[in-house]
Symmetry: C2
Subunit: 257 residues, 2 copies
């Protein structure tokens, strides 16, 4: 935890240019996604404030059909399809079921975080769309996730009694690490009702926080605490270096510059 640096970055620290060490180049807005008057690559997408509790409840219930990633996207887009319609009705939410188990069971990024990044970046847009806040809000949610005593959200009608679900701090955005630490503490297998409800609640927790931040952004009050870790480490990285590397954390070439 001592490697986590939470200080707020100035805005331009978080540019794609910095992210991968690119000198500022010509990036021209290009869109060939204009069909029948609908341009889905015009940002931001219209947004109306949502209730975090209602969103979390939708995510929790949907987890039992679609698991983590698509359920987070669904929890937001399902409501916006009803409130706004297009372009949300044109986005194939269900296809994102693949995020389950850290992308098809590979344990990479927690699916709920992948879903949250899809939502922030589809609504607020990419850096080429005029704002870095979509990516930075996604990154802020990843940082928050790493530090949270998960699961945070308690559903109104839990499928498993609350006291059967212990809490753990993942210190990582990876499904494998997050689920693994919880399984170790709970001593419960992957297929257990407790592990399943834990992940349903993590999904709900992420959906809740996602909408909290989107609502702030809608009110013009969102000041991001997100940053791109690659800027700190000279390599794309999470913050828990020692957890895999032990005492031998490599120095990336060029990091001494």
């Amino acid at each position: 935890m001592d490697k986590i640096n939470l200080k707020r970055r100035d805005f331009f620290k978080g540019t794609g240019a910095l992210l991968l060490g690119v000198a500022a180049g010509k990036i021209l807005p290009v869109s060939d996604a204009q069909a029948k008057g609908v341009n889905v690559e015009k940002w931001p997408w219209p947004y109306e404030k949502l209730d975090p509790v209602e969103t979390a409840e939708i995510a929790y219930k949907q987890w039992y059909k679609w698991f983590c990633g698509a359920s987070v996207v669904h929890s937001v887009f399902y409501q916006l399809r009803k409130k706004i319609g297009e372009p949300y009705t044109l986005f194939p939410v269900e296809a994102f079921i693949f995020a389950e188990g850290g992308v098809a069971g590979w344990g990479t990024i927690c699916g709920s975080l992948l879903g949250a990044n899809v939502v922030t970046n589809v609504i607020i847009g990419p850096r080429t769309g005029g704002s870095h806040l979509g990516a930075l809000m996604g990154s802020e949610i990843m940082e928050w996730y790493c530090e949270a005593n998960m699961p945070v959200y308690v559903p109104k009608k839990p499928k498993v009694p609350v006291d059967k679900i212990p809490h753990t701090v993942s210190n990582s955005p990876l499904c494998h690490v997050s689920v693994g630490k919880w399984m170790k503490k709970a001593n419960k297998p992957l297929g257990s009702p407790e592990r399943r409800d834990r992940c349903a609640r993590v999904t709900a927790s992420v959906a809740y926080h996602l909408v909290e931040l989107l609502n702030k952004w809608k009110d013009g009050k969102y000041e991001t605490e997100g940053e791109f870790p690659s800027g700190d480490y000279s390599i794309p990285a999470q913050h828990n270096c020692e957890e895999c590397h032990g005492d031998n954390v490599p120095e990336p070439p060029g990091s001494e510059d």
Copy 2:
């Protein structure tokens, strides 16, 4: 590498039920994504065979604007927008720039793999759409990526001479591990032209292989070698356990069953 088990799974071994240990439950097809006659949640999406070389060249060039993830999606969808139109024109490809640097610089899943999974699952559809092949094809590409001597594809007009880009085997789908092993061997920093061109070529390599598999699928000749690792390990995981855990690879609760 000795933990990799490449034998083909029977089809139902790769179900979402197995993936997260769920007993077969009621999964009903639900779609509220029908607007003005366009149902983007009806699968598979129409597909026409693409030229792998042309696709890889598009991905390679686009990397210098959008980096890895969105460039893979663009390399396929840009062509299908021209050949087919909707629903490809309705998908906000550009929003997926966030996949860069393993999702906003966090080094999780390699962005090109995230992009490939988006493509296979949006085109072929999720398990709830009637086929597991979208997720399994995405997983097969991840497995292939882990074992490939990257970058595989050599662009027609490389921005950096071919002999300046060494090759490495990541043995992992994670950006941090893939880029880190390459940076160590090349002794080049993240912002170097060589590292940048290496990742542009990895992106092109993934786009090339992605279209190879999609073309086979279109011809009805795709027999998946994909599987969900969570089924083998009793936890969502990649195959290189010892690389982080050393000799102390934990036994997940329930894995002895």
